[in-house]
Amino acid sequence: MIEVKNLTKHFGDNAVLNGITETIQKGEKGVGIGPSGSGKSTFLRCLNLLESPTGGEIWFEGKNITAKGIDIDAIRCKMGMVFQHFNLFPHLTVLQNITLAPVTLKRQTKGEAEERAKKLLDRIGLLDKADVYPGSISGGQKQRIAIVRALAMNPDVILFDEPTSALDPEMVGEVLELMRELADEGMTMVVVTHEMGFAREVGTRVLFMDGGVIVEQNKPDEFFSNPQHPRLKDFLSKVL
């Protein structure tokens, strides 16, 4: 579904990604872990071109999205993204946050979009928050609404950029729970996180990034019980 070929990204003289080649299959839940500055967030943000790669190619559903003249907006409709800081739109109500994109892009009529948004809100138990503004809800609620906002576009894959890193500890659980549900329903997910428990239980493949490359990757069980590379061993000994 997503094919990355020799991806590089430099910020000025600073090389953040040093040639990544990786394939994410449909239905996979790829979880990227690694120390700060390892390039994992940049890698994720390159996948939907929020960062434009310095070199290499990214193919999505058979299209080279790094090619010139590609309609990136159309691609992004199929690639949802969830951010560390939620990035809900503070001037819109919760319901409007969810319906804005499908209605603006004429994917759904206003009525359809609202009905679907309410169903999604009901599912996460926040239907009563439909008409409030994001300023008055908790971080965990914001992030769950951000996930639902991405879902409203019916994406084929959702990218999660450290979705629980900005949350108070007691709110991490509710967000991970929703992500776990999506995973169980078969959503293709690429997640960058520090939640080792989530990587182990929900991931179908765990990738360890350091120094702008993927140092090691494996099925979660093997990955955590039998790490090979010394840098991964060192990293796991610190975080587990």
Binding site: R76, F83, G135
Partner: protein, 240 residues
């Protein structure tokens, strides 16, 4: 009031009473139809300020968008505009417009244009700061949902920017009204000039000048009230 009059008055040597006060007002503003001069001046001031703020706001929007654009010549041109306009005194600009560029044209129109172009440069900076003050994550969230750059700008960034710039925009509005008081440099009989003419004709400085001052104050105060009302309405989404 009596103290004030006592100090500033040249009306005879005796102590002032209320009826003297009314007599002076009558002599300076009513009997010789000075109020008509003031009223006509006020009309011109309002006319100039009204058109100038429209021109300034439109130019401000346009050049602010140019300043944040990725197209270099547009940025360059917008920078040239704000640098030149903000670096030359208003009166000098006004005279250049009145006596060089539009020499012999309707002076109200020329003044409106000059003040509008001048105010536009300040509006540009106000709007640019407002747009750039909106969290970067908002643009990313909009784009990640598949919205185009203009769609995100229009539906997500600008509504938040407008809210943020309203207080500074109000100040610019008020400053503009006061600035128009130099319009007489190109022979516009605005409110200030009207007061001055009455002073000359009646040899009484305080009645016309305080009258003019009070009218300016009433206008700026009224605007301030109107805008703070608008601000409160827009702040709705910030309330929990």
């Amino acid at each position: 009031m009596a103290v004030l009059i006592g100090i500033s008055s040249g009306e005879g040597g005796h102590k002032f009473s209320m009826s003297d006060f009314l007599q002076v007002i009558n002599r300076v503003l009513i009997a010789n139809e000075g109020w008509k001069v003031i009223l006509s001046g006020l009309g011109k001031t309002i006319e100039i300020a009204f058109f100038a703020i429209i021109i300034g706001t439109v130019l401000g929007c346009l050049f602010a968008l140019m300043k944040i654009s990725t197209i270099k010549p547009l940025r360059w041109f917008a920078n040239l505009y704000t640098t030149v306009i903000r670096g030359i005194p208003m009166v000098t600009q006004l005279m250049i417009f009145g006596f060089v560029i539009f020499s012999g044209k309707n002076e109200i129109m020329v003044a409106s244009l000059a003040f509008g172009i001048n105010s536009g440069a300040y509006c540009t900076e106000i709007f640019r700061a407002g747009i750039q003050g909106v969290d970067k994550g908002q643009m990313e969230a909009g784009r990640s949902l598949g919205l185009s750059y203009p769609q995100t700008l229009w539906k997500i960034i600008l509504p938040q920017a407008v809210k943020a710039v309203l207080p500074t925009y109000t100040s610019e509005f008020i400053a503009l009204i006061k600035e128009t008081s130099v319009a007489s440099f190109i022979a516009v009989t605005d409110l200030t000039k009207a007061g001055d003419m009455i002073r000359n004709a009646t040899y009484n400085p305080w009645v016309p000048l305080f009258t003019v001052a009070l009218i300016y104050l009433a206008m700026t105060l009224g605007l301030e009230k109107a805008f703070s009302r608008l601000e409160r309405r827009l702040a709705q989404s910030d309330r929990s």
